[in-house]
């Protein structure tokens, strides 16, 4: 029978099984945090793009006819794409959460609202709308949605930075755990390292054995973590869709190509981090001996 060539390092032991679990869990959390960061970024961009050219004009002391006239006036302004006066039904729908289905008393003066959509590159559109309405004899207040978007953008940026910080923290933790585990593995296999060392193995050769071992461990653990993250995201998406409009509390996750790329890259980064940590730990440890 032809003798077989086993690895110079023994098969995995219980310590590596525990490390596999820890790295897998960290990769799961890191992947989830990365997906959340990306979703937050995407949502912020989509939302701000949506409100960037939006204005709401309030006309005081005007009826529906005056509002329609004002809307026509605004439609002719340079930079305005659409201008549309809200109907009574639309105004009542907006007030319904506060005043109920019975609507407002008929004698209560309620401003008429005009929704204006302007071109994104239109300059000073808010001021020009205000001037045009004033010149036409309307008492109007113009609300640019972009001013509100600024606050939301800042909040979403903070959320994004927090998510990225969590990703960085989890990655650093994974690397530290792997480095610690590699050092423990090296101590546990000191006999093997000693025999190889005395047999004339170069430091790089010995480090390479541990690098290969931990590269595969990181890759496999990262794959499991990424797959669990994928399953979690799929469940959250399914829950979000089944909850229809009442899913606002759930993160708006998706599974498009960049999301899948994040899940594919996670195990590779975990493997590379494990390999790097193992290599540095072993080389540093070997330099302490002759």
């Amino acid at each position: 029978m032809k003798p077989t060539e086993n690895s110079l390092l023994p098969l995995e032991d219980a310590r590596e099984a525990a490390l596999f679990f820890v790295v897998g869990a960290l990769c799961f959390l890191a992947a989830l945090a990365a997906l959340s960061a990306k979703s937050t970024y995407g949502a912020a961009r989509a939302w701000t793009a949506q409100v960037e050219g939006e204005y709401t004009v309030s006309l005081s002391g005007a009826d529906a006819t005056a509002a329609d006239e004002a809307a026509r006036l605004l439609s002719g302004l340079d930079g305005v794409i659409t201008a549309r006066a809200f109907s009574d039904a639309e105004i009542n729908a907006l007030l319904e959460p506060n005043f109920g289905k019975s609507g407002l008393p008929a004698d209560l003066p309620v401003p008429r609202l005009i929704a204006v959509t302007g071109a994104a590159d239109a300059e000073d559109l808010g001021a020009r709308i205000s001037t045009a309405l004033h010149d036409a004899g309307h008492s109007a207040a113009v609300d640019a949605h972009a001013e509100w978007a600024g606050d939301v953008r800042r909040m979403l940026s903070i959320s994004r930075i927090a998510a990225l910080s969590i990703v960085a923290l989890l990655s650093a933790t994974a690397i530290a755990v792997i480095a610690f585990a590699t050092h423990a593995a090296l101590l546990a296999r000191r006999d093997i390292v000693d025999v190889l060392h005395v047999a004339g193995a170069k430091d790089r050769f010995i480090a390479g054995l541990f690098e290969r071992r931990f590269w595969l461990l990181g890759l496999r653990a990262g794959t499991v973590g990424a797959l669990v993250a994928l399953a979690s995201v799929a469940i959250l998406i399914a829950l979000g869709r089944s909850g229809a409009e009442r899913s606002g509390l759930l993160p708006q996750l998706s599974l498009d190509f960049p999301d899948l790329a994040v899940l594919v890259v996670t195990p590779v980064i975990a493997g590379l981090a494990a390999r790097l940590a193992a290599g540095i730990t072993v080389m540093r440890s070997l330099r302490s001996v002759m």
Partner: protein
Amino acid sequence: MTQLRPDMFDEAAVRLDGVSLRYDSTEEILSGIDLVLKPASFSFLTGASGAGKSSLLKLLYLAQPPSRGEVSLFGRPTSRLSRDELSAMRRRVGVVFQEFRLLNHLTVYENVALPLRVMGRKESQYRRDVEELLRWVGLGERLHKRPETLSGGEQQRVAIARAVVTQPNLLIADEPTGNVDPDMAARLMRLFYELNKRLGTTVVIATHDLGLIRQIDAPVYRLADGMLVQENGEVGPTARRRTDPLRAMP
């Protein structure tokens, strides 16, 4: 097979100049040792337990730098060698450890082939040699066994086979016959002698076995109180000119 050449004797195989060794802040284990072993010499190292034999051997197989002094192998001061050069130097040294240091997750065959793998040799190049060597030491039927399943004597023979498989320039053995019967001890000593005589391997054997020492006409160095004293004979190539010291052995 390596042939003996005149230039092999130009430089000492081993040279210790004023070598001392202490671990951390302890007392010196070895103190001011001077030693020259010529290439192709055969020497014994003896001394009481704890005298520092294993520490001296560690210096010789480059597992430990001296606290003071210089260890030179094959004419090169080891303190000036880079890490890669030290690795290359270690490949010229075969070591038989007292406690064997076999790797239990590898088979007997793989343990013996390990130094050849470290050297980057392909299995197709060495398989036959390794199998032949293992047959020669009486382990031809144990190729695929794990060391932990072998007796102490068998493990010792695996350790010896691993040390000599690369045909090293310097062979260092720490109590190499401690766990084998007299017949096998003589067989193993013949292997060391053949390496010494035919390949010019410099052999250093640390042993308590006075019977073994008495049977072989070779210089004996005794370690006592950290000092090294030569008890008999000459060191160096002259050893090769003696008659076969093992002729009287079984």
